[in-house]
Every structure is written in structure tokens, then in C-alpha cells.
């Protein structure tokens, strides 16, 4: 059987009498690029926080990278990667210092860190920037470096929260090439984005509306199912059904 890296069964989160995430059930396979879409306020962030072991589910179950998200959240955290535009790298540290820091946090040995640092800087064409402060790098480079840091410890799954927001169009596409490469190495990618062309690059996509997953399939199947010519139309059809007032 195909290895399931993410698995949830009726996963639910309530805040008081507000159900932010309402019984979502889905699976993500090893190496899959999974797009996690939804309007603002649909419950994506809450769901992601549960999957990352940062928030305890009210009910339902889930496992990520082989660990139970409710009972083994610390193990979940150690076995995943995470990147968002808001939090990524330490701006006041040099490029190599960021890699050193994150490598250390995830328990890599000094020698491993040194070897991997060289490899990453070479791959990204950032060798000359080794000693530069991160804040001096252009946004696009930062985002690529930040992604490499998030998979520095070879996690089974990496969560990317709007990783390309505000990035220039060429770099945005290069970023997706990095995502494909990680997928080919067997890393599972769980991605949120507001760019609907990027939804198209995912193997499968789920769309959340008012706390529930209203659609889940390959972009191609979803386009057929909703008789839409692209994912933006699919999204517009579904998200307009939302009744929840943010």
C-alpha cells in the first residue's frame, strides 16, 4: 500500500461555539504535492496548526509523518518542515548562520551541517552570499533559501504557507521547480497559495469552505467536475458558497 504521510479522520477544532474546522478527513501520500486552498477565514490556518502539532484537535484524529497529532505533537514537530512568508529566516544572521542554527535545532551533527550547507548554497547559486546578512538578500532569494532551510533535516513532509506571496513572477516559477525536486526526492509537500495558477501545479488540491473540505481531487478532475476552464473558476464557484461571516 502507498505510504500515507498525512492522514486525518473527522478532524475538528472548535473555539467556544465556533467550529473553525469541521470534521475534515483526507490522506496525503509520500512525495505528493498537495494544495490546501480556501478563502480567508475558511479554516486553513487552524487546520494547518493542528497538523503541525501546534493546536490540539477538539475531536477526530490525525497523524503526520507517522505520529499522532493529538498525543505525540513533539514528535510531529521534529519530523516536519515549515515555511511561511511571515516566519522564515533570521534577518540579522548571516546566510550560513541561519543554516547552522536550523540544522542544530533539528539535531543534525556539525559535520552534516557543514556538508549540507555547501550543497545548498551551490544548488541555489548563493555561494558568494554565504557571509551576507539575510536581510540584505532580495526577497526571491530569501524565499528559496528559506525553503531549503525548511527541508534541511530531510523531513517526511513540509508545510508551505503561502510561500510565494509577493514574489516576482520568474522567481515564483523557480520556486515551484524546487518544490518538484523535493517531491521527486520523496518529500511530501503541503502547500497553501492564493495564486490559482499554482493550484494547477499540485498533484491534488483540496478546497475548504466554512471549515469543511468541499472538493478534493486532481486539478484536472476538479476542472471537469465543475465544468471550469481553470482552477480560478473552480475556486470562485466553491468559495462564493461560503455563508460564514468572517
Amino acid at each position: 500500500m502507498e505510504e500515507k504521510v498525512i492522514y486525518t479522520e473527522k478532524l475538528t477544532k472548535r473555539f467556544g461555539n465556533f467550529t473553525a474546522v469541521d470534521q475534515i478527513s483526507f490522506e496525503v501520500a509520500k512525495g505528493e504535492i498537495f494544495g490546501f486552498l480556501g478563502a480567508n477565514g475558511a479554516g486553513k490556518t487552524t487546520a494547518m496548526r493542528m497538523l503541525c502539532g501546534l493546536s490540539r484537535p477538539t475531536s477526530g484524529t490525525g497523524s503526520v509523518a507517522g505520529f499522532d497529532i493529538a498525543h505525540q505533537p513533539e514528535k510531529v514537530k521534529r519530523n516536519i518542515g515549515y515555511m511561511s512568508q511571515k516566519f522564515s529566516l533570521y534577518e540579522d544572521l548571516k546566510v550560513w548562520e541561519n543554516l547552522r542554527l536550523f540544522g542544530g535545532i533539528y539535531g543534525l551533527k556539525n559535520k552534516e551541517i557543514a556538508v549540507k550547507t555547501d550543497a545548498i548554497l551551490r544548488e541555489l547559486g548563493l555561494k558568494k552570499e554565504r557571509e551576507s546578512l539575510v536581510k540584505s538578500l532580495p526577497l526571491g532569494w530569501k524565499q528559496k533559501l528559506s525553503f531549503s532551510v525548511s527541508i534541511f533535516h530531510e523531513p517526511k513532509v513540509v508545510f508551505l504557507d503561502e510561500p510565494t506571496s509577493g514574489v516576482d513572477p520568474v522567481t515564483r516559477r523557480q520556486f515551484w521547480e524546487l518544490i518538484y525536486q523535493a517531491s521527486e526526492r520523496g518529500i511530501t509537500l503541503f502547500v497553501t497559495t492564493h495564486y490559482m495558477d499554482e493550484a494547477e501545479y499540485c498533484d491534488r488540491v483540496s478546497i475548504m469552505v466554512d471549515g469543511r473540505i468541499e472538493a478534493l481531487d486532481s486539478p484536472k478532475t476538479l476542472r471537469h467536475q465543475f465544468q471550469a476552464s481553470n482552477m480560478d473558476e473552480v475556486f470562485q464557484q466553491l468559495a462564493r458558497k461560503a455563508t460564514r461571516i468572517e
Binding site: N40, D168, V170, R173, W176, H194, D197, N230, D232, E246
Partner: protein
């Protein structure tokens, strides 16, 4: 009538050149888009035009008033919605709106018609503290506060960043209504698909304008024939297109690739090339470029 005019604006922070020789002119009642990624200089330009930051050199006027000399008068007649949420988090929705109305010597009632469509969506929460609002509601409140004194020129700095596609569409519909009221709107965005909603746009990268024109003209100026290419196994197609001797440029665009061909190469040759590499369901079609295609070509950062 010219609502805004800027001439050869330069600004640097230490050794970083943030803006280089930017000039622009915005007509009264226009929606003028500054389109480009984060870090391109959009916010610096907005801060200079809204009198909050001094340029190193260059001049700018709003309604004929100088941004340095006449800054006090300018502040009375412009509205500014910064990219970073800047209302008072400890005040309620209604208190914030009332505060901004008072500061500008007006009342909520006087210009309510301008904000009605937007404000009535958040009115049910008017006694809620602003800190407790969702992102979408904060955005609507910030726009209401920027409009309450009936500005003649409205500056919106990346108002749709982090906003989902449905809400983005709604936001632009609101802007279209404000345009009808005669308000000049200068709006920045990293989303290239929003460019076509503007009357004119400036494409900005690394502190420089790549091009300034109507979206229609920018698209018409695209110098190559653009083809959309689809085939089975889209993942692999990316690399094979990069290998093909017929391709000048190739970029993924959702479910298709946008491709320009080398001089003298034909779509027929490309089709044969792909068939040799055993692709099926090959579709090659001439298409109109988008603003994003134009931006990538002009930015010369081609992969």
C-alpha cells in the same frame, strides 16, 4: 487634469538604491496601478507621494501641491491605506472610523455614502475591538477610514496581499465604484492579474519602472508571437521545453505553458519535437500575452 505628477524621484537607504529616476503622471479619476513584487520599491514610492518620506532628489505634486512644501494641505486631501495594518487595535470598529472622521474635521454621516457599501459589511461588528477582526474585515475598515474624509486622491498600498481570489475580486469591484465617484486611485499590487483592472499601469522592479502604459498597449507591445502549449505529462514537459532548440522562452501558466519560439522556428517543428519525445494530446495555440508575460519579458530575469 493632472492629479499627481512625479519627476525623477530617487531614494536610497544607506547603500541600497530603493528608487531610481521614477517619473509618473496620473490623470484625475484614473485608476493607476503600480505593479511589481515585494521589495521593488512600491511602498517607498507611496510614502514619498503621501508626504511621509522625503526623496533624495526629484519633485512630486498632488493636485498641483508640492509634496515637500505643501505637505499639510496634501494630507487633508489624500487618503492612504498602508500595506501594514495601521488602525488603532484597541479601539472598536466604530471608534476608529469616528476618530479618522474627526481628525479630518468631518463626520461619518457627511460622507457615509462613499463607504456605505464597504462599511455595512462590517457594521454588525462595530462594537468589536479592531484587534479581534479577521484580515478581511480589517481591510474593509482600513479602506473605510481612508475614505471617510472624501479624499480626492486615494493611495492603496498592496491592499489585496494575502487576500483570497474571491475577496480580491470583490475588492476591485469596490474600487470601480469609487472611480465612478471621481476619486483618483493609485494602487499597488504584486498580483499581475489585477493589472487589467487599471486604466494605466507602471511595471516596477528593483526601484525602476520597466514600462508605463495602458494594460492594452503593454500587451500589444509584446514583440513575439506567444503560444500556449499543453501535452500529457506536464511535469516533464517543463524540462523538455527547456531542452528544445526551438524555444526562446517558456514559462508555466497554470494548466499550460506560455512559449515563444526562436527566430524562424514554427509551431509545427515544436509539435514534431514533442511527438518524437512521445508526448500525446499535444495542443499548441496562439494566444494573447498577459501582463505577467510582459513583466517577465521586460524583467529579463528569464530562467
Amino acid at each position: 487634469m493632472i492629479a499627481l505628477s512625479a519627476h525623477k524621484i530617487n531614494k536610497s537607504y544607506g547603500t541600497t538604491q530603493a528608487l531610481t529616476n521614477l517619473s509618473l503622471e496620473v490623470e484625475k479619476g484614473e485608476i493607476y496601478g503600480i505593479i511589481g513584487p515585494d521589495g521593488a520599491g512600491k511602498t517607498t514610492l507611496f510614502r514619498i507621494l503621501t508626504t511621509l518620506l522625503l526623496a533624495d532628489s526629484g519633485t512630486a505634486t498632488i493636485n498641483g501641491l508640492d509634496v515637500v512644501k505643501d505637505y499639510k494641505q496634501i494630507r487633508q486631501v489624500i487618503g492612504y491605506m498602508p500595506g501594514r495594518f495601521s488602525l488603532y487595535q484597541d479601539l472598536t470598529v466604530e471608534e476608529n472610523l469616528h476618530f479618522f472622521a474627526t481628525v479630518f474635521h468631518t463626520t461619518i454621516e457627511e460622507n457615509y455614502h462613499l463607504i456605505e457599501d464597504i462599511y455595512k459589511q462590517i457594521e454588525p461588528f462595530k462594537t468589536r475591538r479592531t484587534a479581534k477582526l479577521s484580515g478581511g474585515m480589517k481591510q474593509k475598515l482600513a479602506l473605510s477610514c481612508a475614505l471617510i474624509h472624501k479624499p480626492t486622491v486615494l493611495f492603496l498600498d498592496v491592499p489585496t496581499t494575502g487576500v483570497d481570489p474571491v475577496s480580491r475580486k470583490e475588492f476591485w469591484e469596490m474600487l470601480m465604484k469609487l472611480k465612478v465617484e471621481g476619486i483618483t486611485i493609485i494602487v499597488s499590487t504584486p498580483y499581475m492579474d489585477e493589472a487589467t483592472r487599471c486604466d494605466r499601469i507602471a511595471l516596477i522592479l528593483d526601484g525602476q519602472f520597466l514600462k508605463v502604459d495602458t494594460p492594452k498597449n503593454i500587451i500589444a507591445d509584446y514583440p513575439y508571437t506567444l503560444w500556449s502549449v499543453q501535452a500529457s505529462r506536464m511535469h516533464r514537459l517543463l524540462r523538455d521545453l527547456a531542452d528544445s532548440p526551438f524555444i526562446r522562452s517558456s514559462f508555466s501558466f497554470g494548466e499550460t505553458f506560455h512559449v515563444t519560439l526562436n527566430h524562424q522556428a514554427t509551431p509545427g517543428q515544436l509539435r514534431e519535437f514533442l511527438m518524437e519525445r512521445s508526448y500525446s494530446d499535444i495542443a499548441i495555440q496562439e494566444i494573447q500575452p498577459t501582463v505577467e508575460d510582459c513583466f517577465m519579458l521586460l524583467s529579463k530575469r528569464q530562467a
